[in-house]
Symmetry: D2
Subunit: 247 residues, 4 copies
């Protein structure tokens, strides 16, 4: 049985330019996530970053990806439009997409949501964040318990300008008084999308084991598999989704 091919895309700028961020993620956020995912059976993990040729996402990389993770913040505008088109098209065909933290303002997430998804409240005061589980039976939260608590995080506050999500998985509470829809899902074409809020570059969120567990669960949830026969999941060839020829 083949593995799920995961590509972790990261803007990878903060970690190179800022000492205190490099201290947390010496090899970049993408490698912090990859090093965890490498320990999970069933996954084959690559990374890609903004400053590589074609933003690290040439056609053959996108076409061989089952689930893509996306972290961006300061340079959304530098992602090439043809790369966004390529990723978006692959999502329609069934690739899973997991958008992390400030990736909410990326070109690809706006393309998915059809809204000004960058529009929300925010402040950087190192508040405590508590992410409450809204649906305990959802595959993405298995093993998480009632909530995830992060000692310090950037604050995002409602209103977050997005369409009503298909499923609301987490709502965040922040020490200073805000709330935020922190885990939500959409479906576009044959692709499943999960947005997961935490992960500011200046805090060690991607070293938190519950956060990493959610990302792991989300990859299995978003993978373009036929719903596994009891114990026998397999990747669906994307050329054919169900009975439908992909154009």
């Amino acid at each position: 049985m083949e593995n799920i091919n995961v590509t972790v895309w990261n803007e990878y700028r903060h970690e190179k330019s800022e000492e205190h961020i490099r201290a947390i993620y010496p090899d970049g956020i993408h490698n912090a996530i990859k090093s965890y995912l490498d320990t999970v059976p069933g996954l084959t993990v690559r990374t890609a970053t903004l400053d590589e040729p074609e933003n690290g996402l040439p056609q053959e990389v996108v076409d061989s990806t089952d689930v893509m993770l996306w972290w961006g913040h300061m340079a959304h505008g530098e992602v090439k439009d043809e790369v966004v088109d390529r990723v978006w098209r692959r999502v329609q065909q069934g690739m899973g997409l997991i958008v992390l933290h400030s990736g909410h303002a990326s070109k690809i997430f706006q393309r998915i949501t059809g809204t000004r998804s960058y529009d929300l409240k925010w402040r950087e005061d190192g508040d405590k964040e508590r992410l409450w589980v809204i649906d305990h039976s959802h595959p993405i939260v298995q093993g998480i318990g009632d909530y995830i608590e992060l000692e310090h995080e950037e604050v995002y506050g409602e209103t977050f300008e997005i369409p009503t999500p298909d499923e609301l998985i987490f709502i965040s509470w922040f020490e200073g008084g805000e709330v935020f829809r922190s885990g939500l899902t959409y479906k576009r074409g044959s692709g499943k999308i999960f947005y997961f809020r935490p992960g500011h570059e200046s805090v060690p969120t991607y070293h938190n084991e519950k956060v990493l567990k959610v990302i792991e669960n989300a990859i299995f949830w978003a993978a373009p598999t036929v719903y596994p026969k009891y114990g026998t999941g397999y990747v669906r060839p994307l050329e054919k989704v169900g009975g439908k020829e992909i154009k």
Copy 2:
């Protein structure tokens, strides 16, 4: 143009049995709400309570109600099943229903949701509550601004066992660390339902002008009107919804 006929139903037990609650609502929660609604043009308001004959809701009262408000807490089990059937059937025909606070555990709300909607976390420590507006363009929140703040309220915490709402209007933040989906809508048959969380009997929530404004807005939203022609709304005869005979 006829008025919207509103019936405010209240269990009306706490206010009779507990001094400190009677101090806040001397004539009962129902009359506190009614006295505000009586000042709103376009509404004709009645009240009904548990200990009246047929729980205050004989057939002719239900059949002449356009929007019903429901507050209950300690005596959900005493509401007669035939009364619940009567209210439920009227909702299917197009009556609006606004369920307040602990009404989440009422027979009628469980009948609407199809879940164990009583199942949530709660504590009474007088926390501050902040209800954040999730959809600023929704009719129910017009005039409210970014949030409603209540100095002291009972705490409800997720997970609230309900179906995914059609619309999520408010999310509450509580001082002690919980969050809650505090304003949400459903549609059942031709009837629109709004659940609104705040309103514990021991705090003066129904004297808060923003809370009362939300209730007022929700009544106009839930009323079984044909969507008003620009400036010419009217109550739809419930015997006929659109082209469909009501059985």
Copy 3:
């Protein structure tokens, strides 16, 4: 790895009282479905019928069922209320429920939907039915192609009085001019529900291999499993859903 425990519940009246129906389902609709499911690896299948003690669904049977199928038509009212409560409660805890054809008017489906779900148009003229797939990437339709065609079926027509489904899987076209939402999903508590329209007692629908395949797929979709780790699904003990104690 344990099997999924399936209980196929059938009213089992038509087959006993009407010759031409017995000719199609000599051992009842339940056994026609069971005989197919017995060939599917990973399933342990039982049947239960209305005229057995406790309608065939004593507590221990319900408590050991992962996915229940429900076919009823002429005797919905004879299902005991405590049995309906038992099944409903198990759904909240995570049991999958697959409601077939005229089961739309059953007590359990009304309890799930909160509507007059019996309310729809119908006629018995043996029209051709074509069930179009609305979401080709959904697990329930894998292997089905663009549509299922049934030479003769009872006609159901909109408007079907149900809440907006979470997912719309099939829409039926009928020769005589009607359409119907024929495959739809809901979630209630931790339980997944699938309604599947075809299956009138007077036609051999449950001998159609695509119809049986949909039922098979729906069982794996609705089973209370943690989303299978890539190739390693397992049944979740219902006592504990995610981090949440079931009350």
Copy 4:
């Protein structure tokens, strides 16, 4: 009380280049619709077409439009991207958008849906179409009855690659065997969107009174009004939606 400002946008090519189409819509589809809407109290109606400067939609026109109708077919690619951005941004601020027939494949509708919304089955055999009402209590279908029947229309068939709509209003039945989700709503930002399928250029659909009534109803539904106080609706200044400053 101000009127709702409606702008009817039409590609306006078929009517100029094809005799048999000009015979049906001598002044273009936009003017056929406008001439009906001009008879409706409360509306101020303009038209705009592709070949006018800035595709007929300069900033001041878009900024003074409350509800826009969109009909396009053969020249979607000729609509300028900055015009699409302008319309999309206005939708986020609260402008209603009604997308007609082959407008499903327009840049603006793809931007709204986030999918390959051009992807569906189609054929031109002049089939009879019957559009069934799915929600009789929805404002958009008031006065329509159970269905709209069109003697001849172009056929669209599922699967239509769109996100699950917020509301499903019509499902079409076609003589030749297809079905289609023909009336559906979305919300993006503060804007309400309605897609309405019928309206091929070669048939007199926009002379059908029920079709025109649906368009009229949809305009009142989509208008960026505060939900009308009982009989006193008014247009909301788009600079301020609820308590939220529009950026």
